[in-house]
């Protein structure tokens, strides 16, 4: 199974099956953006320090920049493009980010939203302090943090009710 050039991988992304050939060094982030034109997932630091590339693998939030595409063979990936319903109805977290004005430039927002969806699902959105701790892996250069915390708090209440 060793390959010096490219290897075939099969991924389910936002419910759709994809087959592609990648070099072993290609990250999931680059595969999504450059090969599949799913550019909603952002490349911030590309070093695992900012969280802009957060996606879900089998329902858990991870960093796409430190995940090799080859490693997630056969896994189910969800990106920001796969969050809304087919008819365009926004996910509760997306709606809450709009309502709370939880962004300025918006570059970190897809990662913030993917992280927040998982944070609520994990049960780590019980208080503002807990939201701050469990959203700490997503940096916002604009400093929209108070509104991000408000949006996560609002969405958590809606999802749980």
């Amino acid at each position: 199974m060793t390959s010096p050039t490219t290897i075939p991988i099969h991924l389910t992304i936002n419910g759709h099956d994809h087959s592609l050939e990648v070099e072993p060094r290609v990250t999931l982030l680059d595969a999504l953006r450059d090969r599949l034109d799913l550019t909603g997932t952002k490349k911030g630091c590309d070093q695992g320090q900012c969280g802009a590339c957060t996606v879900h693998v089998d329902g858990e939030r991870v960093l796409a920049c430190l995940t090799l595409a080859a490693q997630v063979e056969g896994r189910s990936i969800t990106t920001i493009e796969g969050l809304a319903e087919a008819d365009g109805t926004l996910h509760a977290v997306q709606a809450a980010f709009l309502e709370q004005d939880a962004f300025q430039c918006g570059y970190c927002t897809p990662g913030q939203i993917m992280s927040a969806v998982a944070c609520i699902r994990e049960g780590h959105a019980g208080s503002d302090d807990e939201i701050r701790e469990y959203m700490a892996g997503n940096l916002c250069r604009c400093g929209a943090y108070p509104h991000i915390v408000a949006a996560v708090r609002q969405a958590a209440l809606e999802v749980q009710s």
Binding site: P4, V62, L66, R132, A136
Partner: protein
């Protein structure tokens, strides 16, 4: 990032065999290895992916202690009810480390293989001299910006800090690393830099971490991990302490005490002098503050990291007093 070949291991034995070949490295969560490959620090010829192997991710906690499979994720161990109740310092060290995303990726075995965050080590293009990367090339940190460098366990060849949290709790509670047939204490698994800072772990080619075990103890059950840092979360320790206490039946005399330090040393640092000074004594603040100064015996600073020598004993004292006050 240089390209490499990729091999998905089908069994632990196949993984060990493949990883023994020149230029091969094991890949689990990838949070350290992929990062270092991007920095140009790690240049593997082959990555042997063990993340799909079955049966290496179990977490068992019982009367004898805990057994953590090498592929268990940091987040799974941090949130495990048995770990939270019997080894709270281990859970706290884990959830205060990295970010939620990284904890979902990083494995327990890989956590022990985490490399230093020394900025000179991580930047070969700008700092060719690094004894940890290139033995004999020199140390760019000595005489450089040292705010995040170690004050304990350093050598003339290297002052790079050990950045992890989990292993600090593990050395406090006498945990063991299982390398297939061979076993080592976590304390012995991590090596002092000495004249060979390129060798950080006592692991040999062809060996693989399969499990970490932690013996049960009263001190582990009454334990905490206190981490002080420049920002409140998602940051490495400026200084940290794992502390566990067992009191006598009188509720005030210290029968057993465990103290280990993070963020200040070249490896997870057990502070046995502090433990010995307080065992058999009544737990009270003056004695604790006095004994905690022993945590930095022999410390050597390099200018900007001097604050760690002041900070570490205060963190130790606060952690002991906090743990002593626990029900």
């Amino acid at each position: 990032m240089r390209d490499f070949s990729y091999l998905r291991a089908t069994s632990p034995a196949a993984a060990r065999e493949a990883a023994a070949l020149p230029g091969a490295m094991l890949l689990a969560g990838g949070t350290t290895l992929v990062d270092l490959a991007k920095c140009g620090v790690a240049e593997p010829a082959t990555l042997v992916d063990i993340s799909h192997l079955k049966g290496l991710d179990t977490i068992e906690v019982g009367e004898q202690g805990a057994r953590l499979g090498a592929l268990a994720k940091m987040s799974q161990v941090a949130g495990h009810e048995g770990i939270k109740s019997r080894f709270p310092a281990v859970s706290e060290a884990l959830w205060q480390a990295a970010s939620a995303q990284i904890r979902n990726m990083a494995s327990i075995g890989g956590n022990l293989m985490q490399r230093t965050r020394c900025p000179y080590f991580r930047d070969p293009a700008n700092f060719p001299a690094c004894n940890k990367r290139e033995p004999g090339s020199g140390c760019s940190a000595i005489g450089g910006v040292t705010r995040g460098h170690a004050v304990l366990g350093t050598s003339e060849a290297c002052i790079a800090m050990y950045p992890g949290d989990l292993a600090v709790a593990l050395v406090a509670f006498d945990a063991t690393v299982h390398l297939g047939e061979r076993q080592l204490s976590v304390d012995d698994f991590f090596l002092l830099p000495g004249s060979t800072p390129d060798k950080e772990h006592a692991i040999k080619p062809g060996e693989m971490i399969t499990q970490i075990s932690i013996p049960a103890s009263a001190a582990a059950r009454r334990s905490t991990y206190l981490k002080v840092r420049d920002r409140q979360s998602y940051e490495f320790a400026a200084a940290s302490a794992a502390v566990g206490i067992e009191l006598e039946a009188d509720g005030r005399t210290i029968r057993d005490l465990r103290v280990a330090l993070g963020g200040v040393a070249t490896k997870p640092w057990r502070a046995r002098a502090v433990e010995e000074a307080l065992k058999g004594k009544v737990l009270e603040e003056d004695a604790v503050r006095h004994a905690s100064l022993l945590a930095v015996e022999g410390a050597v600073d390099h200018g900007a990291n001097h604050y760690k020598i002041e900070l570490a004993p205060r963190v130790v004292a606060r952690a002991i007093l906090k743990t002593g006050a626990m029900a």
